[in-house]
């Protein structure tokens, strides 16, 4: 029993437990409460944990010896007998195979599209930068805006402004969730004006490669209506636009 405890307290076992623990937590426990994490992020966090462990256990000579000593002795294999000897041989054979398999899987064709990085908020074209909303935020304007929103936008962006409209599940990328702090709360009104008028087809190259279903509303809505719907959107989502000038 005491022996087992000593093994568990060894820096190598602690490292293994921490690493596996973090991975299990990110991969299987966290998704119980929220959406699953992409592998790119899990990899990042595990790598960070690994480097933290390395830093901690190589800080002094004693801890380095405790950590690396067994690994080193095992790999050198001097005077090894029985199980240890076979284990070492197996490792020396399996490790290169693992690397080979990794290489193969990352190169082999698959029917999944590759992981994409899409720029959600690319820079707008020059003519839309710095436009100011010409309308006053009166109750009438906001209500008209909300009316337009209910008829035109809510099927996709949801009547609660949360991106959960009835048509939303069909689209990739999904319609923006205006309640999220990462969408319209981060943006200026002029940015929305551009996005609403020009839609998904008006996105610059960096906003690709996904095909955005956001329609370009410049045909259906007048400029005035677009400004109104912007006001309705902010009001309904409980957000306010980003500004750079001091508000009086």
């Amino acid at each position: 029993m005491r022996n087992l405890l000593a093994i568990l307290k060894h820096s190598l076992s602690i490292s293994a437990i921490v690493l596996v623990g973090i991975f299990v937590f990110l991969k299987w426990v966290l998704p119980l409460f929220t959406a699953p994490l992409p592998m790119s992020l899990i990899g990042l966090y595990v790598a960070l944990t690994f480097s933290a462990l390395m830093i901690f256990y190589t800080m002094s000579g004693a801890s380095l010896e405790e950590f690396m000593g067994p690994i080193h002795r095992f790999l050198v294999g001097e005077g090894q007998e029985g199980v240890a000897k076979i284990a070492r041989l197996l490792l020396l054979i399996l490790f290169p195979l693992l690397v080979g398999w990794q290489t193969y899987t990352s190169l082999a064709p698959s029917d999944f599209p590759p992981a994409e990085s899409r720029t959600i908020h690319p820079a707008p074209p020059g003519e839309f930068v710095g436009l100011a909303n010409p309308l006053q935020p009166t109750e009438a304007n906001i209500q008209i805006g909300k009316g337009i929103y209910a008829s035109r936008c809510s099927p996709c962006h949801g009547s609660n402004f949360d991106g959960k409209g009835t048509a939303a599940p069909g689209f990739n990328p999904p319609p923006a969730n205006f309640r999220d702090s990462g969408t319209i709360a981060q943006l200026q009104e002029s940015f929305l004006f551009w996005r609403i008028k020009k839609g998904g087809v008006g996105l610059p190259i960096e906003g690709k490669p996904w095909k955005s279903a956001m329609p370009r509303w410049e045909v259906e809505l007048t400029d005035k209506q677009v400004w109104q719907v912007i006001m309705g959107e902010y009001d309904g989502a409980g957000q306010s636009p980003r500004t750079w000038e001091e508000e009086e």
Binding site: L30, F33, T34, A35, P36, L37, P38, M39, S40, L41, L44, Y45, L48, T49, A52, I55, F56, M59, S60, G61, A62, L64, E65, M68, G69, H72, R73, V76, F112, P114, A115, E116, S117, R118, T119, I120, H121, P122, A123, P124, G126, V129, G130, G163, N172, P173, P174, A176, N177, D180, S181, G182, Q186, Q188, E206, R242, T243, W244, E246, E247
Partner: protein, 623 residues
Amino acid sequence: MTLQSAIRTVGSSIRNIRASSLLGWGVLVAFLVLPCLVLAQGAATQAMSVEYRDIPGIGSRNVIWFIAQQHLLLAGFVLGVPLFAWVCEIVGWKTKEPRYDKLAKEFTKLLTSAYATTALFGGILLFLLIGLYPKLMAYLTDIFYPTFVAYSILFLLETAVLYLYWYGWDSMQGNKKGFHLFLGFLLNLFAFFIMIIPNSWATFQASPVVVADGTALERAWAAMWNPTWWPVNIHRFIANVVLGGFICGAYAGVRYLLAVSREEREHYDWMGYVGNFIGVFGMLPLPFAGYWLMREIYQYNQQMGITLMGGFLAWLFILQAMLIGVLFLGANYYFWMGISYRIPGVAQSYKKPILAMLIVLMVSLAVWMTPHTLVASLQEAQQMGGAHHPLLGVFGVMSAKMTVANLMILVTFMSFIMYWRAGKQETAPWAKIAKAIMGGVLAVAAITIVVLGVWGYFVPALFRINTLSVAQVLIVLFILVTFTPLTAVLLKSAKTTTEMVWGQMPVRSGYTLVSNAVMVILLMSLMGYARSSSRVHWHVYGVLRDTSEYAYSPALGYAAALMSLNTFFFCLLVAFIFWVATMGDKSQAPSKESPQKVEPGLTPVMAGGSPSSGGKGGVQDNR
């Protein structure tokens, strides 16, 4: 010091200068200036006919990219090192410790050859720019012509002062030291102006102002005062200190790995410590300067701000977070190793605080590196409902990044304080109370920073940026400027329980120092690219369009390859400069490095050195 003796000293130092090298400088500067004069005259007529020239196969843009980056890195080096040397000299003069003076001199020696190399690359850059981008150069010359003259004069002054400073080092000891220090001040003053004049050209390209009619001088003056000029000046100035410090550290690290005698090991271990110290010290305020610069860019032109921070250049900032993270880790790692190797017997008692700091650092780093828009496969994106994760998406926004950056600075600063205090026992009667108060203040500061960061999610962006972020920065600065003198006072009365032992650091400390320097160089290459590609297809943003065939932004992978090449080549250059500068030492003292003097068991072992194979491994000796 009498005026007479000062004059005599100057006279004797001038005699020391080899006339030929001065002449060489004169010719070089003339070469730099002359083409500009010609260009200014012929600009209107000739240059317009040829707008661009290309270098087939390589591409004119790549050539300029490479040369400009080398020139900038070298310039950062030759501006950072004099600062570093000057500060060391002052410290040596104040503390009467000759080793500081020796260190300062050792680095000034590098300057002469480094300076020539920098000017060389500057000259090449200018010729190439005139040849390859005549349209742009004609435009810039038209506006900035008077600054070219000022720049050349500054160059002459700087060169003269540098020679006096270097060749007069030994003859200006003792009561003439004051004058020598003054020369060091002048050296840095001129260097600063030499830095900010080209900064005005580059910042004008990014954030031009309307240049009204007027005399040539008035127009140049107006163009210099563009919105990003001073933020870039400050940012670069601090970054140069960091570069100088970490390169000094890397030099010491390499020499430490190669050292054979005990004195050498002790000296270079100590030098590495000083270099790392200065690098870290500069690094602490650097993020604030960067933040100020970004704010100015956003305010100047939102589109440019979005391109940088949210648009296609946003990925550079994730890379930046990674590099800075490695740098912070490396610097702290070096401090922590210093505690356990240089101060015998204390390693055990510092294990817990170090673990706590490491965890805070790692969690901060994880938050900082979490991109706002995640790289996800189609399946993963569908599960998340977009490229934002519903929970971790909160780490992606500025409020979180600012908070963890502040925390990381705080932790690094505490590492430094801890290292400083290790092995010493405060004796002042109020030491206990003072330490308790400091601990309390620190805890409150950390909690406040986190609270402000969380609050940032619930307020409009403007309030967050102008009030909350500024408050966070002020808190950290407050800690920095109060804790440093307080600790110094505390330690004045302290008795040393364990003497620091130099020359005992393990091999990996040397590699850590080298890695820190490489990270800084990579960072400068990365952010240099970000700065100039934020102009997208403009030479002068919104004014002069790039109509060459290279008016597109290269793919990020391509850019990263060029950055790596630049870093690699610059490291080679620096190694060359160090090699040339130290060649004399070796021929002078050949017996010092004879193998007989090698202390048994003290030879550092290379990276693959086994920790357990006999008693020869560096790791074992240094346990």
